[in-house]
């Protein structure tokens, strides 16, 4: 995979624009069309989707996305432990979010076990393989370091494969690296079409398996006491670096590999830790229309086969986009909330001796 420096710089510039735009949206200075993507639930408000036009990277484009806020953890034991524990917890969250979080995404969910997986057929029989997923691929997300630009001399380079899984401490973006890029592989992210007859059958089509994301200190979130109720907020915004030529591929679902992703953990004064996610991606009307057409086709087939007059209206492009966003939101939510299991298992994230080697090395198996 080739990652060109100009593409990274362009993605970062667009990312900064989108971050500023989103800040204005949250402050009410910019308007977007909002809709409820997923309802509220215990521990979280409704996930809000949006459509809006933003100027980023020198062009004004239509964007879509969502913001979500989830319960992550509650520190401490009895109520009396609250204030002291919250302060200690802030250091814990900073260390986890900036040093280890990206190394542990892949282990958010259990992995298919090789002995349970169907055997891998020989190459000449591969075309008959019914196994829906490749063996040994990880569930959730896998992050791999790719390239960097040094602050000191502007030199660019590629991280050795041997350390690719140990994502650098994001605080090094303030001292060592001008920027870094990371390949994020997401398995299990797909869009689904209901099949006819209300049979409970559906067809899922996988979305892009991986995307390159650029990170810069400007987009690192490292704040102490930003508001009276928040003791600290830590995380990172990522700028997807579109595959070469995406600018001319606005009719492909790959254009989801644009925009901005933000994920942070913040500690409230009562010891509660909350996860915030913001996703902004360019809308891709051509691909969406084709997707809607496929769904309409299945409904027509249903009407013909069941000899009924109508199998219901075909979905609109906006409904397909909302489906796409909600699928993305849930996949990201499952993975990021899944890292709570890893978060819980280390008693002290600031004590290097307490961190298992597989976390330090980002080792997968």
């Amino acid at each position: 995979m080739t990652i060109a420096e100009p593409d990274v710089e362009h993605a970062l510039a667009a990312g900064r624009d989108l971050q500023a735009w989103w800040t204005d949206v949250e402050a009410g200075k910019q308007s977007v069309e909002r809709f409820e993507l997923l309802p509220a639930f215990p521990g979280g408000n409704a996930v809000r989707g949006f459509f809006g036009d933003a100027r980023a990277g020198g062009a004004t484009d239509p964007y879509m996305g969502y913001s979500a806020d989830y319960f992550f953890d509650l520190g401490g034991g009895a109520t009396a432990d609250g204030p002291q524990t919250a302060a200690w917890l802030t250091d814990q969250v900073e260390e986890f979010a900036l040093r280890y979080w990206l190394r542990t995404d892949a282990w958010a969910l259990p992995q298919p076990y090789p002995q349970v997986d169907p055997p891998t057929p020989p190459a000449w029989l591969k075309f008959l393989d019914l196994n829906p997923s490749s063996k040994h691929d990880l569930v959730g997300m896998t992050n791999l370091l790719r390239t960097y630009k040094q602050r000191a001399n502007g030199a660019t380079g590629r991280f050795p494969d041997a350390v690719a899984r140990a994502i650098v401490d994001l605080r090094e973006l303030e001292s060592t690296y001008e920027w870094i890029t990371m390949e994020r592989r997401a398995r299990g992210l797909h869009v689904t079409i209901a099949l006819p007859w209300g049979s409970g059958l559906s067809l899922s089509m996988p979305l892009a398996l991986s995307e390159v994301q650029a990170m810069h200190a400007d987009l690192t979130v490292r704040r102490r006491n930003p508001t009276p109720d928040i003791l600290g907020e830590f995380g990172q915004a990522f700028c997807p670096v579109p595959p070469t030529g995406t600018a001319t591929q606005a009719d492909r679902l790959d254009s989801l590999q644009t925009g901005l992703r933000l994920q942070t953990l913040r500690v409230r004064a009562n010891g509660e830790v909350r996860l915030k996610i913001v996703t902004i991606a360019r809308r891709c009307p051509g691909a969406i229309r084709r997707f809607a057409d496929v769904s309409a086709l299945t409904r027509t087939a249903q009407a013909l086969l069941t000899m009924s007059r109508s199998a219901g209206p075909a979905p609109t492009s906006e409904q397909v986009e909302q489906h796409l966003l909600s699928t993305h939101a849930i996949h990201l939510r499952d993975t990021l909330l899944g890292t709570r299991t890893v978060w819980q298992q280390v008693t002290d994230w600031c004590d290097p001796a307490a961190i298992p080697a597989w976390i330090v090395e980002g080792r997968h198996g």
């Binding site: 639930f41 524990t85 075909a314």
Partner: protein, 427 residues
């Protein structure tokens, strides 16, 4: 929920048992389910005895992994065994899993209090866990073109939804909980001895199987939803409420049940949740000395004698009728009668596997894993994944409230078991 064709009956017309005073009206479907309860209890107790006697011996020796988990000491394994029961030998398949549920963050200089955590866990599991397992509103993105709006599919919920449906009082009378009572689940530590048993309806959400397209390892997949309500009966022998049951364990709490098949449903998959019988499941939670909480699940079910609950000949003619405007059955009636005569009870899945293996001299099994064993393991992996997600959801709920023993401070969704999204625009 009663099917439309299952009319309500006056309880005076119910035969076979005395109706408890205050019972809701039964439907024909209710009576059909209740007719299976005694057998389910008998099977369940028998399997529970076998499980208790063999869990650390034969099961361990014959175990195989179900999923890879890095979070030590989380574990999971499955097994395929012949269970020698008093009623005969039953080939069974099972899955066991154990995972971290809660280990609150505390500064190292602050002592942990495992007894405080034990009180928290006991209150949460015995009084609220079952109510909240289905508290989450619809969350998964519904498929495009489905009947529901994207993101609001009525069945696209997380976790498991429990309702208490039927009960048998200590005096032997049987009743049905009213709709209002069904979601207000009785605290588990108050069920016995007032009741001899309670039948729960459990809706297991997100229970889907996926099949890939040949030759496309990362290509499209076809998904079959197996989400169905399943009825289960809990007796005192399935309730776990113990303080310091063994060294290193401060407290252990939980429940279990035997599955009650619903004979009025006609699922395509014979081993779908609503159709299985001779099946038990236990869900238990324990506090360790270090203050951590672990969740455990055991699931044991018979190896299915067949997979598809349909006659392949009838299936083929149904399809032909659809494509020929209902003329195929008429024109080819003699052929249909002939085929039904020679293959009346063949399972199309097993038959296909056997034919494939015979035709390929075993390659389909050895190279592609197309055999019964792999199929059973796939089912167990599905079950493991569903329980894993449900436990994670429960862990999240458990962590949200600082003190589960302070009933006055509990959020409404925890006590009511129903979460109403504030100001939601989705129905």
């Amino acid at each position: 929920m009663a099917r439309p064709d299952m009319a309500l009956m006056t309880n005076a017309t119910v035969h076979g048992f005395a109706v408890a005073p205050g019972s809701a009206l039964f439907t024909e479907e209710d009576l059909a389910i209740l007719g299976q309860v005694d057998a389910a209890i008998r099977y369940g107790h028998e399997l529970l005895e076998w499980w208790t006697a063999n869990r650390e011996t034969r099961v361990r020796v014959n175990s195989f992994p179900i999923a890879r988990q890095i979070h030590e000491p989380d574990l999971n394994y499955g097994f395929l065994l012949d269970a020698h029961l008093r009623s005969g030998t039953l080939p069974v398949v099972g899955v066991i899993q154990d995972q971290l549920m809660r280990w609150p963050k505390l500064p190292p200089d602050r002592p942990r209090d495992p007894d405080w955590m034990r009180a928290q866990l006991r209150a949460f599991i015995l009084k609220y866990f079952m109510r909240m397992a289905g508290t989450q509103p619809a969350y998964r993105a519904g498929p495009v073109g489905g009947d529901a709006k994207p993101g609001s599919g009525s069945d696209d919920r997380l976790g498991w939804g429990y309702r208490q449906k039927f009960y048998k009082l200590a005096d032997g009378t049987v009743g049905k909980f009213t709709p209002a009572q069904q979601t207000a689940l009785i605290a588990l530590d108050e069920v016995f001895p007032k009741y001899l048993w309670i039948v729960y309806e459990v809706k297991i959400h997100q229970f889907d199987m996926s099949f890939g397209v040949p030759g496309a390892a990362n290509g499209p997949t076809f998904n079959v939803s197996m989400t169905q309500p399943v009825h289960t009966v809990m007796t005192p022998r399935f309730l776990v409420d113990e303080q310091r049951p063994q060294p290193g364990v401060v407290g252990e709490y939980g429940y279990g049940y035997s599955v009650v098949p619903n004979p009025t449903l006609d699922p395509i998959v014979t081993d779908g949740p609503s159709a299985i019988k001779q099946t038990i499941e236990t869900l238990t939670f324990r506090v360790l000395e270090n203050g951590s909480v672990r969740a455990h699940m055991n699931f044991i079910t018979p190896q299915p004698a067949r997979i598809i609950n349909r006659d392949p000949v009838q299936l083929a003619f149904d399809l032909a009728d659809r494509l020929s405007f209902n003329t195929a059955s008429t024109l080819l009636a003699p052929l249909k009668t002939f085929l039904e005569g020679i293959e009346p009870h063949v399972d199309p899945v097993y038959l296909s596997m056997n034919v494939l293996n015979a035709m390929t001299l075993g390659i389909s099994s050895e190279e592609f894993g197309i055999d019964k064993e792999t199929l059973f393991k796939t089912f167990m992996n599905l079950h493991f994944t569903d329980v894993f997600k449900m436990y994670n959801l429960a862990a999240s709920h458990f962590a949200m409230v600082r003190d589960w023993t302070d009933t006055a401070a509990l959020p409404a969704w925890a006590t009511a078991g129903v979460f109403t999204p504030p100001g939601s625009t989705l129905s």
